[in-house]
Amino acid sequence: MPLLIETLLKIVFMLLVILGLVPPLIWAERKGSAFIQDRTGPNRAGILGIRLAGLIHPVADVLKLLFKEDIRPANAQPILYSLAPFLLMAVALTTFAVVPFGDYLEVAGQRIPLIVADLNVGILYVLAIASLGTYGIVLGGWSSNNKFSFLGAVRSSAQMISYEISLGLALMGLLLVFSSLRLTDIVAGQGQLIWGFLPKWGVVVQPVGFVLFLTAMFAETNRNPFDLPEGESEIVAGFHLEYSSMKFALFFMAEYANMVVAAMLITTLFFGGYQIPWLPRSVLEAHAGLLLPLLLACTALACGWISQLYFRRAQQERGKFHDARDREPGLLGGLFVVVALAALLALALRPWAIGPVGASVFATLVQVSAFLVKVVFFSWLFIWVRWTLPRFRYDQLMRLGWKVMLPLGLANMAVTALVVALIPGAKG
């Protein structure tokens, strides 16, 4: 029974992380793309004048989509048409099960591994579930009974077949180096150092594999340069052309959930998961009494500084809008003051004297945060690349997949196998 509750809590945590990251990512997509293109981006929607630089816009979007009419084309396949968005979302929300988001949490003398299901064939599970995602797109495109949707579905399936091979091959080298399919083993292996100073991250031991995996992951998540199934300039909106209301929202959310999951996989496989380079768990635990107050002091200072920036802006922009928006900088500055005061209050509770149990929890929290920071960075990478690169033409996509990535993946696997076989100690 405790195991069940424990697992449920972990699932809830991961779901909260993935779904909680979706609105900020949509915001980052809109605001980031705007700033990259020298535009201002969303800044209008607000609740009582609080606009948070456009962060309220996703809320407004969701409200709008909730109240929109759910239209089903007359000749669509009713069951498959409704099933497709759920399938895509379900797949996006299933992959994380084998991703370790922390080492372990020590509660009441018990060590809880911070992973939902520690499968010994974790990577196979990831590959198997990830390829199911295509079904959502293919079924959605086909059941809409629309030529453009159908083209999107066909493109998606062809693209998935081409890039899944490279995806698998890119992971082969990693498997040879860490000689395990279990993701916890791979993350633990990445905590070591090569020659005493270089973190043994997947990206360091398998740079070619990383580039191949990243590229294939972009293709898997249907993000630009590989968003041909959507291809709005060619096939209108591709597979989700006929969808409206919350079904469309599900497709939209699934895209971002997929991005977060892809970022989690990249982090786990190639960037050490929750590991912080040169700061292993033992060091974190031993120096918790020093690190925790330091962290709190830094938080207090940073929040104080940010609040000063907001207060200065409130003074400069007094009476700019003549409505509730004028209060926003002052309110946000006040919020940061409260956070800074809370950090100072925590400092007054003598955090340098936390016991070994507290130190263990502290180390776990720091590692989970490290994992989340990496995940957010790679999620941002997906957005960043989208607004940098143009979309591939279809023949270019196929050439890259079959004539570049597949041979490179095979060569990478062969070289890695040779190195692992010939050099003793190369295997971790």
């Binding site: 700033f35 990259i36 201002t40 607004w387 940098t388 690169l389």
Partner: protein, 171 residues
Amino acid sequence: METKTQKILPERAWSKRFSFRESIYLWEILRGLGITMRHLLRNILRTREMPTLQYPEEHRQYSARFRGRHRLVPREDGSPRCVACMMCSTVCPADCIHIVAAEHPDPSIEKYPAVFDIDLLRCVYCGLCEEACPCDAIRMDTGIYEIAADSREKFYVNKEFLLTNDADGTL
């Protein structure tokens, strides 16, 4: 003259157009990412220097010679200076000025416009009416360019409207 045509296969054309460094993509992608990140950081750090105007709150400053909505210049007694000579409605390329002339009670003034209507939806704001007017009676110096109304009829403005042209853009 004889031009030598040689069929370039797509693959050949590809290798000709790109150097080796460009054809492996990665370096060029990183450069592209650098460019976009530069724009992003510049706009985050200097949001206020962005060229965008927050329109309803901020307005673009136009020059004093900007041709906005028309107005009729009044005499000292408040009646329009216009003598209904029909120069403006003749020169108007959009044919948007409608004038009906009538005899003025003052014998020193020949005529006055009984009706002076402008269809703002037809007007192309070319300013020819201003130039044609012999007594400087019609001007486009109000600077008003936010012209909005909820029906076509409201854009058909009459003499009284043009004489008391207030700054509010709506009709």
